[in-house]
């Protein structure tokens, strides 16, 4: 049976890349003695699928991966056993059993929430908030996106579902589907480009808050809801 696991990644561990996080969980699952299923063949590997890679340097409270189990105690027990072997900054938030036929985590991802703060060193024009709202309220935001082979013009607005300025940062809900994924840094860099502000290197502190799938009726729901 398949189980979906939600975890957070905060603090120094944000500098661990996606592939290393996968290796981290492979080891953690062995430490927690969870009865995970392995693939066939000479070098069997754990059957595991991550929802959406998180960029190095980003924090998250809404990361997900699925694992296939041979046997299961109960979801609370899996959560406790995993939390007992976690390192500082990575915490298991929820564990849920998936219904048969439910798509894997990666294929299900439709959108994600982000909260973006600026680094302390960033100097911004006084009216940037108004300008950002005006930017978001445009009907279309055409941008040229560099793909591997060519350049193409896209409407960025289609991928920005929500944008709000909150006390603790800029909240964005963005398309996170495979192929149409919009990165929060891309949106803000484009915006500041349009108002003539040149950003220094690594100006943003990004936190993913939640990752969503789309229900049959078209509604966005967290990957574990």
């Amino acid at each position: 049976m398949k189980v979906r696991i939600k975890f957070s990644k905060e603090g120094p561990v944000k500098f661990i890349g996606h592939l290393d996080i996968m290796r981290y969980f492979q080891k953690a699952i062995r430490r927690a003695d969870i009865d995970i299923a392995y693939s066939m063949g000479f070098n069997p590997h754990q059957i595991m699928s991550f929802a959406s890679p998180l960029s190095v340097g980003h924090e998250s409270s809404g990361e997900y991966f699925d694992i296939e189990l041979n046997s299961i105690t109960d979801v609370e027990d899996i959560k406790n056993r995993l939390n007992a072997v976690m390192t500082e900054g990575i915490k298991i938030l929820k564990v849920a059993i998936l219904d048969d036929g439910e798509g894997n985590a990666m294929a299900s991802v439709a959108a994600a929430d982000y909260l973006v703060r600026f680094s302390d060193k960033l100097m911004l024009p006084a009216d940037w908030k108004e300008k950002l709202i005006a930017y978001y309220e445009q009907e279309h935001i055409f941008v040229t996106k560099q793909t591997k082979k060519s350049e193409k013009e896209i409407d960025l607005k289609e991928g920005i579902y929500k944008l709000q300025i909150r006390d603790d940062g800029i909240f964005m809900q963005l398309d996170a589907g495979s192929g149409s994924n919009v990165k929060p840094g891309f949106v803000l860099e484009h915006f500041f480009g349009t108002i003539g502000v040149e950003l220094p290197e690594f100006p943003l502190r990004v936190r993913r808050l939640e990752t969503y799938r789309r229900t049959k009726k078209g509604k966005l729901m967290p990957l574990i809801s």
Partner: protein, 623 residues
């Protein structure tokens, strides 16, 4: 949550920022107010190399078992971060607490290979600790060196307050007790060093002076303190089944060179190959008992979650209970889906059977280390591996489905002739021919792949070859070209690939290995001129090194090509590694006579290690 020493901006700029954040699974956190002694344990190379080293994991675990001590880890910052730290004046920090190394009581540096010597200076420099021990004050950590290179500490003795000679498990408690006494009584650094010199295995270089003859060889060592011992005897663990070994090794986040559980099954080697330093330094062979190994294997797998376990020792096939251990591991590991990696096994029916069980034959290659191309030269170096054994092993392997063979040789061995070098090509060819004779055409899946690699021989202290002269760079290269040419003349040349090691770096390693105190200034000069990470070929700057020798008026040839007299006093003679100089000299003579010496299990040669009263020295001999 811990606060990092480096800002987000810096960490986002450097390659693999996870090298610098600590916080790995099983990393030990303590409160600094609750310990008396803070120990920074450093491997002076990049994180992925340093984290793969078993010795540090053992000492780290041991020191952290002491309630009054907190041991943390330090590695060389990679060149990208090195530049930023210098530019922004960021002091080198330890991974666990992220506190500056300069605040620690001890900075321990493990010396595993000579080519890390400039990295010692990099670590001291970035930490803000004076490079020369004589310039340090009460505020600076005590800098202590350990590991195999300390068996000749003289080329780097100016940079260290102390060296710990031998195995680390035995004397750290005593040393730390002395340190606490020194701090409590408010004594000076000189008091501590003088008292430390009386702890077995501890060498305090500042208590001695090295005097030279006119020809530059060592005349004598003069003691500058009554309290300094004449001879430093290496420290050794008598019972390796009743000692420190980590149950919970630190698990790195990023992929490191040795990304697996390492089970050290024994220390030392019975073989006595005459070029091999480890084979002499770690005498006598001491096996860990089977139950100890079973217990630790399971505990380490459960506590790390690693997917692979590797046996570690100099010659695993000599471990007397290997079949029992492997049976146990195969059963436990197949249940847990854990891979087993078996290095340094002699190729025979037993090992092939085992490898067949634990590896994918199609993907793995077989390794032989004949070290020399001819039987004559193998007898000179006491490598008890005959052509018959190699070809039989290869035949068995080819029958079992292996098609890839790696061969390791050395060039520039003492008494080597052109015939011996051509022997490398001929032996490679015979192995290829064995494949074509053994495996019928219809069963072949392409050619056999033979990779012959040569390294250049470097004479090391405490080996029978410590008297030997080393080749010049040009001689080394000529030998490599002759090897290459000979291989192209073989019938099966298309099945043989040939690699050779860089020559100039082998020359420098030879200088460091048998150097004296005059080398310190050269290392310092080379470092000041920008040398660091010399073990990394892309950063090795031979011309700068040669300039440093010239500027210091030190002749490299004195340390390498010069033939040493049998009665010459060597810079490392004041260290007693257990094996006597007489024994080594006897072995040097037997090499010249092309006479093989039986291994320790067959017949005791009276090397001197029996005085430790342990290990193979207590076993009944076969002969």
């Amino acid at each position: 949550m811990r606060k990092l020493a480096l800002s987000d901006e810096i960490l986002m700029q450097v390659e693999k920022p996870a090298r610098y954040i600590g916080g790995e699974v099983n990393a030990v956190m303590k409160r600094k107010e609750q310990v008396k002694v803070r120990f920074a344990m450093c491997f002076p190379d990049v994180y992925e190399i340093g984290m793969s080293h078993l010795g540090i994991q053992i000492i780290y675990d041991m020191l952290n078992q002491f309630e009054d001590v907190w041991c943390e880890r330090v590695y060389s910052p990679w060149v990208d971060l090195d530049a930023i730290m210098r530019k922004e004046n960021i002091p080198l920090f330890a991974l666990e607490s992220q506190d500056p190394v300069k605040e620690f009581d001890f900075l321990g540096i493990t010396l595993q290979y000579e080519m890390c010597y400039t990295n010692i200076l990099q670590v001291l420099d970035l930490a803000g600790i004076p490079l020369l021990a004589k310039d340090r004050s009460e505020k600076d950590p005590i800098v202590i060196g350990g590991g195999p290179c300390t068996y000749n500490p003289e080329p780097i003795c100016d940079f260290f307050d102390l060296f710990y000679i031998g195995e680390g498990e035995t004397q750290y408690r005593t040393l730390i007790d002395l340190y606490e006494e020194y701090k409590e009584k408010g004594m000076g650094r000189a008091w501590f060093l003088e008292h430390a010199a009386q702890i077995p295995g501890i060498y305090v270089p500042s208590l001695y002076e090295e005097l030279y003859n006119e020809d530059g060889t060592v005349k004598e060592r003069k003691k500058l303190s009554e309290k300094a011992p004449d001879i430093i005897m290496k420290e050794m663990v008598k019972d390796v089944s009743d000692t420190y070994y980590p149950m919970k090794p630190v698990v790195p986040f990023i992929k490191v060179t040795q990304d697996r559980v390492v089970l050290e099954i024994q220390r030392g080697c019975i073989r006595g190959c005459r070029f091999c330093q480890a084979g002499q330094l770690y005498r006598p062979v001491r096996e860990r008992n089977l139950e100890f190994l079973k217990k630790y294997a399971i505990a380490m797998l459960e506590n790390t979650g690693h997917e692979e376990i590797s046996l570690s020792s100099l010659s695993s096939s000599d471990y007397s209970q290997l079949p029992e251990l492997i049976d146990f591991l195969i059963e436990e590991c197949s249940r847990r889906k854990i891979n087993i990696s078996l290095p340094s096994l002699r190729i025979d029916a037993f090992s092939l059977d085992v490898m067949n069980k634990v590896q994918d034959v199609k993907k793995s290659s077989l390794t032989f280390a004949p070290e020399a191309g001819s039987q004559r030269l193998r007898d000179v170096i006491n490598k008890g591996l005959t052509e018959e054994v190699i070809l039989n092993g290869a035949k068995l392997a080819f029958e079992g489905g292996w098609t890839r063979v790696k061969l390791y040789f050395m060039l520039g061995l003492p008494f080597e002739t052109e015939e011996d070098i051509k022997g490398i090509a001929e032996l490679s060819n015979k192995i290829a021919a064995t494949f074509y004779e053994t495996v019928p055409k219809e069963k072949r899946n392409g050619k056999v792949q033979i990779v012959a690699s040569t390294s250049f021989f470097i004479p090391k202290p405490f080996t029978p070859f410590q008297w030997a002269s080393q080749c010049r760079k040009e001689e080394f290269l000529d030998k490599a070209y002759l090897t290459r040419k000979s291989i192209t003349e073989q019938l099966n040349q298309k099945s043989i690939k040939y690699n050779w090691h860089e020559a100039d770096v082998s020359v420098l390693e030879g200088i460091m290995a048998r150097g004296d105190r005059k080398i310190n200034q050269v290392i310092l000069k080379a470092y000041e001129m920008g040398c660091v990470y010399d073990a990394w070929s892309e950063y090795y700057k031979n011309d700068v090194w040669m300039q440093a020798f010239e500027d210091c008026g030190v002749d490299p040839d004195f340390y390498t090509v010069r033939e040493r007299r049998e009665d010459e006093i060597f810079p490392w003679d004041f260290i007693d590694c257990g094996v006597s100089k007489n024994f080594l000299l006897r072995e040097w003579h037997r090499a010249q006579e092309e006479t093989v010496t039986p291994n320790c299990r067959k017949q005791c040669q009276g090397c001197g290690a029996a005085r430790f009263g342990t290990g193979v020295c207590l076993e009944e001999k076969e002969a």
